[in-house]
């Protein structure tokens, strides 16, 4: 308790550049991870719904693997094993971090896409096909636009989770927020100033993000009546 009563705000100020850099990398890695995850998730989600086993089976294996194992260990495997083996040499922690967040969130986003597509009544696809649209055209113009509206809340939720889970990347020394906290505490042995500051910064990021998602939701549902 004494430590907390002795809280020294000037430490935060002195290390502001470290914290700001942390916010920057946390934000950039999360956005990049989710952006790539969206592309992966779209294809994996549609592949899981395919009638063709050669599309469906790999998608199911991918989704189950990344949803069924800890992100922390996935990060270690990707940084120290997968990327060095695939590309011949170790990648920077930032590259590894983006890859790890992308493939992990891609698995969750795939499930969001699958559920969103399946929530659109079968009659919509049939009506589109009966007009002569191909399966791909029906998906693009009829099914996905409707599914996307329903997917905004769960996608926003996934984005918040990625934002918070990106703190695990401090294990491979990505200069993100949690890493900044560890550096400050390591230098000064001041855990309250170091980690409480980091949490408050995560909270601010989350709240800003929630507000943005909320506005997007509002804008999309304003497009049509009822």
């Amino acid at each position: 308790m004494l430590d907390l009563l002795d809280f020294r705000p000037e430490i935060i100020w002195n290390y502001r550049e470290l914290f700001i850099r942390g916010v920057y990398y946390t934000f950039i890695l999360s956005v990049a991870g989710v952006a790539i995850g969206l592309v992966i998730g779209l294809f994996a989600g549609m592949a899981k719904l395919s009638r063709r086993a050669w599309l469906r089976v790999p998608a199911v294996v991918y989704i189950e693997f990344f949803r069924g194992t800890p992100l922390f260990v996935q990060i270690l495997l990707i940084h120290f094993a997968v990327l060095p083996t695939l590309l011949g040499k170790a990648q920077s922690p930032i590259v590894s971090g983006i890859v790890a967040l992308a493939v992990n969130s891609g698995a969750y986003i795939a499930e969001i896409f699958r559920a969103g597509i399946q929530s659109i009544a079968r009659g919509q696809m049939e009506a589109a096909r009966s007009l002569g649209l191909s399966h791909a055209q029906a998906m693009r113009y009829v099914i996905l636009p409707q599914a996307l509206r329903r997917m905004i809340p769960p996608l926003g939720n996934e984005f918040l989770i990625v934002l918070k889970d990106s703190s695990l990347l401090s294990a491979i020394a990505v200069p993100e927020l949690a890493n900044a906290g560890r550096i400050v505490n390591g230098a000064l042995q001041r855990p309250w100033e170091a980690f409480l500051t980091v949490l408050v910064l995560y909270l601010i990021l989350s709240l800003v993000l929630s507000a943005l998602i909320h506005r997007l939701e509002g804008r999309l549902s304003a497009g049509r009546s009822g």
Partner: protein, 256 residues
């Protein structure tokens, strides 16, 4: 009373637009269509009646390849649908389909619903598609609704939009699957009126319906289906006034 076109017999020398030969279809162990034979001639209106579950919807859906057939042959305008090499999308755009529950695209305005397929499938320029759409909307009495979203429309209005949307592809024939069954009674007439005017213009139509008045007035032939079979085919007059088969008689006695 509608001005009736020539009786179907005079079409006989012409090739049928739709020809169904020995078509069977099962869902699992449930044999839903049993060796169906049916020809539909150009400009003919064929009305299919029968109890619920008799396979009427499945037969229509087979014509549009929304279901695959297990056995038999379907030829539409000279193209064998049952041939695996057939371009499914090419066949579908020649047949307009109207569903019981409309299935308008709820995220698009009425106008967007109409122009989507002509633009994407027929590569029709937007201006031309919009002009077609406005003309058709006028025809179905909804010229003032082009900017409305489907859920702002009544059921009858939605179904008229759905008919206009199908007509946008200039189909060779129109398939209707109980187009008025989901409507409040006061809206049935406005949809049937649109269908009647289509028939009058010579559109080839296959209509599944429980509207016996429509069948009598517009139908060239009435097909009675029961338990996956075509039990009896004849002119409306013959089917409704002198049904030959006991199953037809039983069905009609229940609904008339």
């Amino acid at each position: 009373m509608l001005e009736k076109r020539s009786a179907p017999e005079t079409h006989e020398p012409a090739a049928p637009l739709i020809s169904v030969r020995g078509v069977s279809k099962s869902f699992g162990t449930n044999r839903v269509l049993k060796k169906i034979d049916l020809d539909v001639y150009p400009q003919e209106v064929v009305v299919i009646i029968g109890p619920s579950g008799s396979g009427k919807s499945t037969l229509l859906r087979c014509l549009n390849l929304l279901e695959t057939v297990d056995e038999g042959e379907i030829v539409v305008d000279g193209v064998r649908l049952t041939d695996p090499k057939t371009d499914v999308d090419a066949v579908r755009r020649e047949l307009g389909m109207v569903f019981q529950h409309f299935h308008l695209f709820p995220h698009m305005t009425v106008l967007e619903n109409l122009i989507l397929a002509p633009m994407k499938v027929r590569r029709r320029p937007r201006d031309a598609a919009v002009a077609d759409a406005r003309e058709l909307l006028r025809k179905v009495g909804l010229a003032d609704k082009e900017d409305a979203y489907p859920d702002a429309l009544s059921g009858g209005q939605q179904q008229r939009v759905a008919i206009a949307r199908a007509l946008m592809m200039k189909p060779k024939a129109m398939l209707f699957d109980e187009p008025t069954s989901a409507l409040d009674p006061e809206m049935v007439k406005e949809v049937l009126d649109v269908m009647k005017s289509l028939a009058r213009e010579g559109m080839t139509m296959v209509v599944v319906t429980h509207e016996m008045g429509f069948a009598r007035e517009v139908g060239d032939r009435v097909v009675f289906m029961d338990q996956g079979e075509i039990v009896e085919v004849g002119t409306p007059e013959a089917i409704f006034s002198r049904p030959q088969n006991p199953r037809t008689q039983t069905f009609l006695s229940k609904i008339l």
